[in-house]
Amino acid sequence: MTGCTRRLPLIALLLGVAFAGPVRAEEAYDPWPGLVQDIFSNRPINDGAEIIGIEMPYRAEDAAIVPVTLRSKLSPGDARRIRSITLVIDRNPAPMAAKFELGADANVTEISTRVRVNNYTDVHAVAELSDGQLYVSKVYVKASGGCSAPAGKNAEEANNRLGQMRYRQFAREAAPASRIREAQIMIGHPNNSGLQMDQVTQLYIPAFFVNQLKLTQDDSPVLSMEGGISISEDPNLRFTYVSNGAKRFRAEAKDTDGHVFRNEWDVEKPGT
């Protein structure tokens, strides 16, 4: 497999067109330099220890649902802001899990989502700041042993939820009266990863996933996500943002079959 990912266009990284082949020879091979070339066009990437935090459990308990939290470490007084964060799961068939664009006025400082992890792997978070510089942090995750698998558990149920959306707002204990909000958006979608034809069963499950999600307060961007098959079934985003006083929170999701799902909700008062 060495060198294979280098020739893959970006879209392939997101779609996961190339399935990992035999695993043994790959263990020693570090895919990251190739991914830097493919995803970031070999731009210089600085150490992000002071800029961006990434948290995942060391052991992926359920390979299909591995929680990941991205956290801004910029001090409130910093003139720069995080423009985007790219989440890369190096050894997944689709390494580029998601790219998050953070709304210019929303001050998103924390994003949690859930991903699939196929393998023992480094996971990188690359933040692009408003000055154009890239910063990276990484964690190492052990894929679960046992019979855990990145595929879904209940194929029928997942399809039944297709297109349902939920919005939820959480109280922030730290600053009950501030304009900081913590919210969660859930989208019912199987996010099928797609497979080659199985030679024995002749079964084929085409890739079918949410590839775009836009969240706004009224019409002001809060957070958007460009996603791939590494995002778990029923994509789920939990994040903080600062209210601009908008009355409505809006979500628009698109999937690879061209479905567009839209919904909006009343924003609860701060501190509730």
Binding site: E61, A151, N154, E156, L195, T201, S232
Partner: protein
């Protein structure tokens, strides 16, 4: 298990695997009811050392033919099970029934591929094997090594059970029932009418913490129907052969506790990782392999009930 007992068990296991390496030993089985043979798997994760032998597997002998139920966690275990069958009967193996698609139950299938042998499973088993099989092979090659996993072939069922199906082994009828999503989304049970013995696969766990890979609410609901099966004993997927339906009480308590805890956690607005760390903590003393599976069960349960 006492320290001495576990040491003895470990030594016995070591002896067994050494023999198996030397050339597929016969898998030890006991006759839990007339003509109904069961091999008890170790309560453990699949490893190179135990050769994937962690699930209960077995076979039932009728007047005309044999049905094998689950085939173990490696090709080698499948071969050893085949030897155990052949040591007891010359009748043809007409059916190989898989209770679901997890590797510890299906990795031995290829040892039974032969003319006249049909593979039987839940109607959703082929899809589960197609989407997970390649991943299982890669993953367990890493864990157990090529020598054990290279000979493993994913063999999907050709006889599919949508609801119920009766197989006749000759004066011996087996009732197969396909269930809705619970332990997995392709669970199948086998009821031997003659001896009123239920082979439950992983719908029933004893001692080994239940593993949830389907639907926690589905599993709890299903137990109401499952316990009405007129059996006198059950062969669980993992754990000892036990009286029926008393065998269900520990599992039901665990699942109900887990469900209540993740619901409470979600109501409080806690993130999924808190649920993974804390749910069903009171159950720890009751189960083996708790730390290997509880957080995973809680993660999966939380993501399911979030949609309530």
């Amino acid at each position: 298990m006492s320290h001495l007992a576990s040491t003895v068990a470990a030594l016995a296991l070591l002896g067994f695997t050494t023999l198996a390496r030397a050339g597929a030993a016969e898998l030890p089985v006991s006759e839990v009811a007339p003509g109904f043979f069961v091999h008890s798997g170790t309560i453990a994760l699949m490893t190179r050392e135990n050769e994937g032998d962690i699930a209960n597997v077995g076979f039932i002998v009728g007047e005309d033919a044999v049905a094998v139920i689950d085939t173990g966690g490696s090709f080698r275990e499948g071969e050893a099970l085949l030897k155990a069958v052949r040591a007891r009967t010359k009748k043809p193996i007409r059916y190989v029934i898989n209770t679901h698609g997890h590797p510890d139950h299906v990795f031995g299938n290829a040892a039974f591929v032969a003319d006249g042998t049909s593979f039987v499973g839940h109607s959703k088993l082929p899809q589960a094997l197609a989407s997970r099989g390649p991943y299982y092979l890669d993953n367990f090659k890493r864990i157990m090594g090529s020598e054990l996993i290279d000979p493993v072939k994913i063999v999907p069922p050709t006889m599919l059970v949508k609801d119920t199906m009766t197989l006749d082994l000759g004066s011996r009828r087996l009732t197969l029932r396909a269930w809705s999503a619970a332990h997995s989304d392709n669970d199948l049970t086998v009821f031997d009418e003659m001896t009123r013995t239920l082979f439950a696969g992983d719908l029933v766990f004893l001692r080994h913490i239940p593993v949830m890979d389907g639907s926690i609410r589905g599993w709890l609901d299903l137990l109401k129907g499952l316990e009405t099966v007129p059996a006198v004993r059950v062969v669980p997927g993992h754990g000892p052969v036990t009286d029926w339906p008393a065998a269900l009480s520990d599992e039901r308590r665990y699942l109900a506790t887990l469900l209540a805890d993740v619901r409470a956690s979600n109501r409080k607005g806690e993130p999924i990782r808190s649920a993974a760390d804390n749910a069903a903590a009171t159950e720890r003393p009751h189960w083996e392999l708790f730390d290997d599976y509880n957080a995973r069960n809680a993660t999966a349960a939380f993501s399911e009930i979030e949609w309530e």
